[in-house]
């Protein structure tokens, strides 16, 4: 699954256990309890990535006076995007045949029952598919808040989550997975290199620039307050990512197992690569370094997990660890933007790298799908002689980058006009927790 829906209707999967044919009205879909069990679990795992995963990961990296604020943002976005997804997001992303956007057939989930299924996930209840996809929308939107940490108004943040989840996440999800034009090109994105990571990474970069630098950055000590929280968060992200990547097989299948295996391997490689790079360049292996490396690896393997082999996953892991390290350590300094928690450096850069390398390292034997029209196996990437796939991947990356940047920019400018994006100087200086939420930690 997880690719080119236009193709998908014509595909029959090579291995028997995922019967991914669309549900026919006359022929009641046959749910598989094993697939359903795994997807219920995977959904819980991805929710755990959002809360408490990202809340801890980000919360530990800010100063003590702003800790609750960013954790609260993660929690509040979880709530807000749940609503936007039920109301219209799911329907617009995954229903209808539009090249650019889905339909409102499932507005407020009308028509969903205990027995309906979605054609992309024919062996599990549609309700499970809805919540599983919802958690992706939640995680993606949350990722952005790292960029504008320590200076965003709470109300503006809520409004941003509503608008961005509907106006940016939903269309991109539709383009890549829901039947839109990027999937139609045959781009490979197993679990969200473009939809999730490039999308949020670029949005973060734009947000950091629009809202401006943190007051005192470079002068005031902004060292992470509690790296133990960050370590717990990164760990829960890693564990939860099994749901994210192996869950993107939408079945308890060999593909799911494979996705888990290469995810684990690439993540370990990336973590050690960042650690080694930092040790060499800066003289010390840091906790934040190994954690950031692990996240970079998880990000980069995301689009590739259902397509590449062991060797490919190793290269993707090592490359992402090193590339994201330099993006955070050097690129950011060079370009001078203040992406507080390196959303772009990790998710943007890691996502782009992973998406492109998927086109290089995809193996026909792992892709493991037949094109029903031509009756031929869908070819892998450059490594299997299909150089065109790299170009397809680059096009997909480019489109998502540009769209995300422009749309995010417009949304932020509109919010700034209406209610303002940034807290006052005094609030920023005295800390957001107490001033926005009337609370402190400890």
């Amino acid at each position: 699954m997880r690719l080119k829906k236009t193709l998908c209707a014509f595909l029959t999967l090579a291995i028997g256990m995922i019967a991914a044919h669309p549900a026919l009205a006359a022929d009641p879909p046959k749910l598989d309890t094993g697939d359903t069990a795994w997807m219920l679990t995977a959904t819980a795992l991805v929710l755990m990535m959002a809360i408490p995963g990202l809340a801890l990961f980000y919360g530990g990296m800010v100063r003590k006076l702003n800790l609750l604020t960013i954790a609260m943002q993660c929690f509040a976005i979880t709530c807000v995007v749940t609503i936007t997804w039920v109301v219209a997001g799911y329907s617009l992303a995954f229903k209808g045949d539009g090249m650019l956007i889905g339909s409102l057939e499932r507005f407020f989930l009308s028509g969903v029952t205990l027995t309906t299924v979605h054609s992309l996930a024919a062996t599990i209840p549609e309700s499970v598919f809805i919540v599983f996809q919802m958690t992706f929308a939640i995680v993606t939107t949350i990722l952005i808040v790292g960029a504008f940490a320590d200076r965003m108004k709470f109300g503006a943040m809520l409004l941003f989550a509503v608008l961005w989840s509907l106006l940016v996440y939903v269309p991109v999800a539709h383009w890549v997975w829901g039947g839109g034009f990027i999937g139609g090109w045959g781009a490979f994105d197993f679990a969200g290199g473009t939809v999730v990571h490039i999308n949020s990474g670029v949005a973060g970069l734009v947000a950091a620039i629009v809202i401006g630098k943190r007051m005192g950055v470079g002068k005031v000590d902004m060292a992470p307050h509690n790296l133990m929280y960050t370590l717990i968060g990164a760990s829960l992200l890693w564990v939860g990512w099994f749901g994210f990547n192996a869950g993107s097989a939408v079945a308890a299948s060999g593909k799911a197992g494979w996705a888990m295996l290469v995810t684990q391997f690439a993540t370990a490689a990336a973590a050690l690569a960042w650690l080694a790079a930092e040790w060499l360049v800066k003289g010390k292996p840091s906790v934040l370094g190994i954690l950031s490396g692990a996240i970079a690896g998880l990000v980069a393997i995301t689009p590739a997990a259902g397509f590449v082999g062991i060797g490919g996953s190793l290269v993707i892991g090592l490359a992402s660890g090193v590339a994201c390290f330099f993006a955070c350590a050097s690129l950011k300094k060079m370009l001078g933007y203040d992406d507080a928690l390196d959303v772009f450096g990790v998710h943007g850069v890691g996502g782009i790298l992973g998406a492109v390398l998927t086109g290089v390292f995809a193996l026909t034997s792992v892709v493991d799908m037949t094109d029903a029209t031509t009756k031929q196996a869908i070819p892998g990437g450059l490594i299997d002689g299909n150089a065109a796939q790299v170009w397809t991947q680059i096009k997909a990356v480019a489109v998502v980058c540009v769209f995300s940047a422009v749309a995010t920019f417009v949304i932020l400018k509109v919010i700034d006009l209406i209610i303002g994006l940034r807290v006052s100087e005094e609030i920023e200086r005295d800390g957001l927790d107490l001033n926005l939420h009337g609370e402190t930690v400890h």
Partner: protein, 112 residues
């Protein structure tokens, strides 16, 4: 010698430290404290029940200097920590009779 003790906003710590370094000060000691003063704390909300919290996060700096330097130290802190807003904090000066450097046993001026 004098101990200059200042209670300031946490955000200003680095600026104050730099200002003191510029005066040639080589050491100081910092603690996290809670301040109660004219700057009123936010109304904390505990499960909807209002709760008035009047203690705000501050940072306390203690620095011992030769008596001759004390006034310039006070002035430097006052300038660096100032935001013009209520709650900027206070500086107090206390007399110190003796100072010892633990590592060497050096005394008084030599110990600072």
């Amino acid at each position: 010698m004098k101990m200059v003790m200042a209670v300031i906003k946490p955000f200003k710590l680095d600026e104050v430290r730099e200002a003191l370094t510029a005066l040639g000060i080589q050491g100081l000691t910092v603690s996290e404290v809670k301040g109660f003063g004219r700057q009123k704390g936010q109304t904390e909300i505990y499960r909807g029940a209002e709760y008035s919290v009047n203690f705000l996060p501050k940072v306390k700096i203690e620095v011992v200097v030769g008596s001759e330097l004390a006034d310039r130290v006070v002035e430097a802190i006052q300038k660096a920590a100032n935001t013009g807003r209520i709650g900027d904090g206070k500086i107090f000066v206390v007399d110190v009779e003796k100072a010892v450097r633990i590592r060497t046993g050096e005394k008084n001026a030599d110990a600072l």
